[in-house]
């Protein structure tokens, strides 16, 4: 298994950056997710690691070996594509055996290995079917088997669940993660779905506009987003972000309500905001919104209230076009137009600089 290291890797198409210089070390056995909206450079990054795309500048190391200019087949990596890339004229078995045949592995060994991965992925019963007759989930299992059979040093997966129906997706997500836990193979996984990234990644690399926004564990990117983009992108809905004005330990929210800024943040805010005239962005996750508190500091008008199954989501309008979302128990319904008093869990309150859009940290002022 392998450690993958990217040093100042960048990719330009003509004058525009597809990937801005990027440093990243992927540890042996790690499951790392490249996450971002379409066109953010995540797939290009993956393809550069695989060698399907040439870097413009920078170095790629595989276990310390410089593979920047090595041919894809010399990198000992396996690639799983979104559209399966199975050969439709071959059976599942032939598809899985294909990479081994390229390496001139003896026949007996091939069939033993194919049987082994087929058992692992529970696809023994479909080995003699052609891909065209298989469901999306099974096709992706065959594609995974084809990647696994070679026992490569690393797996690169480009939105492998993107083409599957929603009903298969959750199950396959768990299957791929289980497989990783059993194999402990270094895996780089590309997706635009933040739920997938949170559920699967040991660490998540969040990219936007060709640039890495944050690298961190699911817990870090959820609770301590590095900037507004990450705060918005992670979570469904994303973090509530309000343009506020800070003074004297209070943040005045749109609509006039004032929330008390947790003591630990005050010094950092005083320091960070002296160039912004007190303007600050207050962020908090939907589960930090507490309603029906007797001494709530803020108020808003119910914009909508909807059931999500196990919980419900309350949407409050603080001012024209400023709506916040709160995760509630499903016991009480709130009619549209009702005024609600609410409060924000101080432990979950976060602050961002309005100009740099970066998070303001308790200890270090502006990031």
């Amino acid at each position: 298994m392998a450690q993958i290291e990217l040093r100042q890797v960048e990719k330009k198409f003509g004058e525009s950056f597809a990937v801005k210089p990027l440093d990243l070390t992927i540890q042996n056995g790690e499951f790392i997710v490249l996450l971002g909206p379409s066109g953010c450079g995540k797939t290009t990054t993956l393809r550069m690691i695989s060698g399907l795309e040439a870097v413009t500048t920078g170095t790629i190391l595989l276990d310390g070996r410089d593979v920047t200019w090595a041919h894809p087949s010399d990198r000992d990596i396996a690639f799983v594509f979104q559209f399966f890339a199975l050969y439709s004229h071959m059976t599942a078995r032939e598809n899985i055996a294909f990479p081994l045949q390229a390496q001139r592995v003896p026949r007996a060994e091939i069939s033993a290995k194919v049987a082994e991965v087929a058992r692992m992925l529970r696809i023994e019963h479909i080995l003699d079917s052609k891909p065209g007759s298989l469901s999306g989930g099974d096709q992706q299992r065959v594609a995974l088997a084809r990647a696994l059979v070679r026992r490569p040093a690393a797996f690169l997966m480009d939105e492998p669940l993107g083409a599957l129906d929603a009903e298969f997706r959750e199950g396959m997500r768990a299957e791929i993660k289980q497989l990783h836990i059993r194999q402990e193979a270094t895996t780089v996984y590309v997706t635009h779905d933040q739920i997938e990234a949170m559920a699967m990644g040991d660490r998540i690399v969040i990219m936007s506009k060709a640039q890495v926004q944050q690298v961190g564990t699911p817990h870090q990117v959820y609770h301590d987003p590095a900037n507004l983009f990450v705060a918005r992108f992670i979570g469904s809905p994303g973090m509530n972000l309000l343009n506020a004005r800070y003074s004297d330990g209070k943040a005045i929210l749109p609509g006039g309500s004032a929330v008390t800024v947790p003591g630990a943040y005050r010094a950092a805010l005083d320091h960070a905001l002296n160039d912004s005239d007190g303007a600050v962005i207050v962020g908090f996750r939907p589960e930090a919104l507490r309603v029906n508190v007797t001494d709530g500091e803020c108020s808003g008008v119910v914009y909508a209230d909807d059931l999500h199954g196990g919980y419900s989501m309350l949407h409050l309008e603080l001012a024209d076009d400023v709506i916040i979302h709160g995760r509630m128990s499903r016991d009480t319904a709130h009619p549209i137009g009702e005024t609600m008093v609410f409060d924000i869990d101080p432990a979950m309150m976060r602050f961002f600089h309005p100009k740099t859009e970066l998070a303001i940290h308790i200890n270090g002022g502006a990031a």
Binding site: E53, A54, F83
Partner: protein, 331 residues
């Protein structure tokens, strides 16, 4: 979503593959441009040659080896547009003495001929314009309606009908000329504009229905259905929503239909004589007295080329997209 579950696709649109990095893109572009220019020149040689011949005099046109540099003259055009008679020696002398001759008369005189009237070519060119213009209009107009119907409605026996329509194109035109000639003579359509327009329209229709159906299939139904629930009738929705979006297809079809009817030779030769004769069968028989007037034939061909070139040029924007988009994929 449905597409994802169908047969898998190959994923091979590598933009800059490592194994291709060695080839520098600039060289690549230069090579491509050179090849394109060479191919274009080769393709254009006959046209250029024709253009040159049109401006040659008789000896230059037939000289061996062919002349690339020559003194241009309008002799070919004069011979194309006029009927002439050979002068006797006395008449020649008499005419040569006069100095009030027009340019045309002078050119004719140099060859010892005098002009006795306008040739039939201008009126044949006009016939061509009328017949191919009107037939193209009708074949596209009917074609777009039929194609729309085939594309949108559940017509009983739709596939058979479409095949039947296409089968119209399977016979070579020459095979049916004799029966059509006999029929036309019987009903009085022989050598009439109407006869030719009907014939070309019928012939082009099958082609235009198929081509246009491909284009209309690509226009999402939702557009019209939105208009239908918004309070428009089917015909209004067709006119306001479908037609503007089918412009590309209509342009491509128009050009193809026009080129067919404009260039058509076999029917025109058999079914027309004086009144409705079109240009194609008349150009090759520009025989002068005592030999073929190559310059006149070339001049006729050149004039004949111009209208199609203009139309194609005017519609080129749609055409390029149309040819690569609808025709090849669906048509």
């Amino acid at each position: 979503m449905a597409a994802a579950n169908q047969s898998p696709r190959y994923y091979v649109n590598y933009s800059t593959r490592v194994d291709k990095v060695g080839l520098r893109p600039q060289i690549n572009t230069a090579v491509r441009a050179t090849v394109a220019v060479i191919v274009t020149v080769i393709m254009l040689i006959p046209v250029i040659w024709m253009g040159m011949t049109a401006f040659k005099n008789r000896p230059d046109a037939v000289s061996v080896p062919p002349k690339v540099f020559f003194e241009p003259t309008l002799e070919g055009f004069v011979f194309l547009l006029t009927d002439r008679r050979q002068l006797t020696a006395a008449e020649d002398e008499q005419l040569s003495a006069r100095n009030d001759l027009s340019y045309f008369e002078q050119v004719a005189l140099e060859r010892g001929q005098s002009i006795i009237g306008q040739s039939a070519f201008p009126s044949q060119l006009i016939n061509s314009l009328i017949i191919s213009g009107v037939s193209t209009f009708f074949s596209v107009a009917f074609g777009v309606l039929a194609a729309y119907a085939f594309s949108r409605f559940n017509i009983p026996g739709k596939d058979d009908l479409l095949f039947f329509i296409l089968s119209q194109r399977m016979l070579p035109a020459v095979v049916v000329t004799i029966p059509i000639f006999l029929m036309y003579r019987e009903v009085g359509l022989h050598d009439t504009h109407l006869g030719m327009i009907l014939l070309y329209t019928a012939f082009n229709l099958s082609f235009s229905v198929w081509l246009l159906k491909g284009f209309i299939d690509e226009i999402p139904r939702e557009y019209e259905e939105a208009a239908l629930v918004d309070g428009y009738t089917r015909l209004q929705a067709f006119r306001k929503v479908v037609l503007p979006q089918a412009v590309t297809g209509i342009a491509a079809t128009t050009v193809f239909a026009l080129i067919f009817s404009w260039n058509e030779y076999a029917f025109a030769l058999m079914l027309t004589s004086d009144v409705a004769r079109t240009a194609p069968p008349s150009i090759p028989i520009r025989l002068g007295t005592g030999g073929i007037e190559w310059a006149a034939i070339a001049a006729g061909s050149l004039l004949f080329l111009i209208p199609v070139v203009i139309v194609t040029f005017a519609l080129r924007k749609h055409l390029l997209r149309g040819v690569t988009f609808g025709a090849i994929r669906k048509g």
